[in-house]
């Protein structure tokens, strides 16, 4: 089993699209899931939606790196972690990183079989990624 990547966005479309990109970058070997939206076409992700995703992913992964967009998405992830048993919640880390670049680098690292800590570190390095200097 590898580390899983959970993308949490205000927008369901954004979450799915970013998950699609991160999946393509990791050869399809990593459990990459995107959740977002309020289920009625609005922006913002309810706690339970994040909790359901984490609960489905935990048995299939060696820990989960979560990439939220901002604001209430982070509150919803923290709320979901509060509701998981503490030993399960301990296997999940919220990564402070740009959501797309972070999820992508995290997925690449996870595909190499890296441990959660390393996946989180790679995700954070996305903040310094130079995109126009090549």
């Amino acid at each position: 089993m590898r580390v899983g990547i959970l993308i949490v966005s205000h927008s369901e479309d954004a979450a799915r699209g970013i998950a699609q990109i991160a999946t393509a970058m990791s050869g399809g070997n990593v459990e990459v899931v995107g959740v977002g939206g309020d289920g009625e076409g609005g922006l913002g992700v309810p706690v339970v939606k994040v909790l359901d995703a984490l609960s489905l992913m935990l048995p299939k992964t060696e820990g989960i790196a979560v990439f939220p967009d901002l604001g209430s998405s982070i509150l919803s992830v923290r709320g979901a972690l509060e509701m998981l048993p503490p030993d399960e919640a301990a296997k999940v880390t919220i990564v402070d990183a740009p959501i797309l670049e972070g999820a992508m680098l995290g997925a690449v690292e996870a595909n190499c079989g890296a441990a959660l800590e390393q996946v989180v570190e790679s995700g954070k390095e996305a903040r310094d990624l130079k995109k126009t200097e090549h």
């Binding site: 205000h10 939206g37 309020d38 289920g39 609005g42 922006l43 913002g44 992700v45 309810p46 706690v47 339970v48 939606k49 604001g71 209430s72 509150l75 919803s76 923290r78 709320g79 509060e82």
Partner: protein, 211 residues
């Protein structure tokens, strides 16, 4: 006299009606310094809470508040979902197996709820958040342990004062904090809905509370 489970349910019903009437006002407050979703989110969340509570009997505060919390955390996408959800969840856990609670018991349960909010949002007093309304209300409850009506009346007054005190504050949390100095001069929508919550508990108690 003690706060009863039946009165708590009335408080939730009152809150739903109040938010329904104030949703545009809350949205206006939020469009000034946030993302204009607070009124809509609260309205939708509490409507779903009322659907959930319909025809349902609860045996203790924990059951009632858990239903409120889980509904808000299932239905609300903005920060109101996790924050109010956590508040009701933690408050309920602290009142498990109880059908009535004294002012002291309610104050300490609300304190647990508030601690949950603080853990989630990392906010402290003065950050221009819902904390600034709820925290003074809890202090007011604690200072009036003997007299139920006086306690809840002063709690609602304290919450209203706390809400108004957010107007000159500089926002430190949430979307409004991105505005920096421009957040000054606007009343915080979260503190406003928190005042509604406390005032509905006051009204439920004065109308339906004690035995």
């Amino acid at each position: 006299m003690a706060f009863t489970l039946a009165a708590a349910r009335v408080a939730i019903e009152k809150l739903n009606s109040l938010i329904e009437g104030k949703k545009e006002y809350l949205t206006d407050l939020d469009s000034a310094i946030g993302d204009a979703d607070h009124g809509i989110n609260m309205n939708r969340g509490f409507k779903k809470v009322m659907e959930k509570l319909q025809d349902k009997e609860h045996s203790d505060f924990a059951g009632l508040f858990r239903d409120v919390a889980m509904t808000l955390m299932s239905a609300v996408g903005g920060s109101a979902g996790p924050l109010y959800g956590t508040f009701f969840m933690k408050m309920g856990q602290n009142l498990a197996d109880k059908k009535e609670a004294t002012v002291e018991e309610f104050a300490s349960a609300m304190q647990e709820g508030l601690n949950g909010i603080m853990t989630l949002g990392k906010a402290v007093l003065g950050d221009k958040t819902m904390l600034d309304a709820i925290s003074p209300a809890i202090e007011a409850l604690k200072s009036n342990p003997g007299d139920e009506r006086a306690a809840w009346t002063s709690a609602a007054d304290a919450a209203e004062e706390g809400m108004k005190a957010t107007i000159p504050m500089l926002a430190k949390r949430g979307r409004s904090s991105y505005l920096g100095e421009r957040s000054i001069g606007h009343q915080d929508p979260g503190a406003t809905s928190s005042w509604y919550l406390i005032s509905c508990f006051r009204d439920a108690l004065t109308e339906h509370g004690g035995q």
